[in-house]
Symmetry: C2
Subunit: 106 residues, 2 copies
């Protein structure tokens, strides 16, 4: 599996609006080839800022790369600029390859 | 879902040994109540250091908390000190709550 994470540092005062924006957006992921799952995650709060992370799992990195050059990706991000003032700086992207996997016993 | 991540900054020279240590350790997670999945992830390399992250998904944060106070947890971490020289500083823990979930279409 390949995990694409984008980390957002959001001032506490903007957190509710930031969440609302994500929860109400239109997602284009669901029918992309190789897409496994998406989660919007709320992480720890530190010094008045909340760490959020978008967490998208793909079958392979190649599937993720195909998504980033697709029409659906452009459509998803066309309005991204509107939310910029809600978080500090720029989102921090991190891509991860799984090197070991353990699932719950059946 | 609740995601418990631990981030490790590993000098490139230690990466192979760090991976081997993880891949060969004994895991006690599989039979814990509320355990969903574990992945060891290899992230980006930057300035001679590789970011690794252990990525454990639980049904709820309460299940994760129960794990951290269990006998199995103590057994899993009894030898943790032996690997310390392989990464820089201390692992950085981040716990995340899912606030939105999208799965692939069936």
């Amino acid at each position: 599996m390949y995990l694409a994470m984008n980390r957002f540092t959001v001032p506490v005062a903007n957190a509710a609006e930031f969440e609302e924006l994500w929860l109400n957006r239109e997602s284009h992921l669901q029918n992309m080839e190789g897409f496994v799952s998406f989660h919007m995650l709320k992480g720890p709060e530190d010094e008045g800022r909340v760490l959020y992370a978008s967490h998208t799992v793909w079958q392979t990195e190649a599937h993720f790369r195909a998504w980033t050059t697709s029409e659906a990706f452009r459509a998803s991000h066309a309005r991204a600029g509107e939310s910029r003032p809600l978080y500090e700086g720029t989102p921090q992207f991190e891509g991860f390859q799984s090197i070991q996997s353990i699932d719950a016993s059946a």
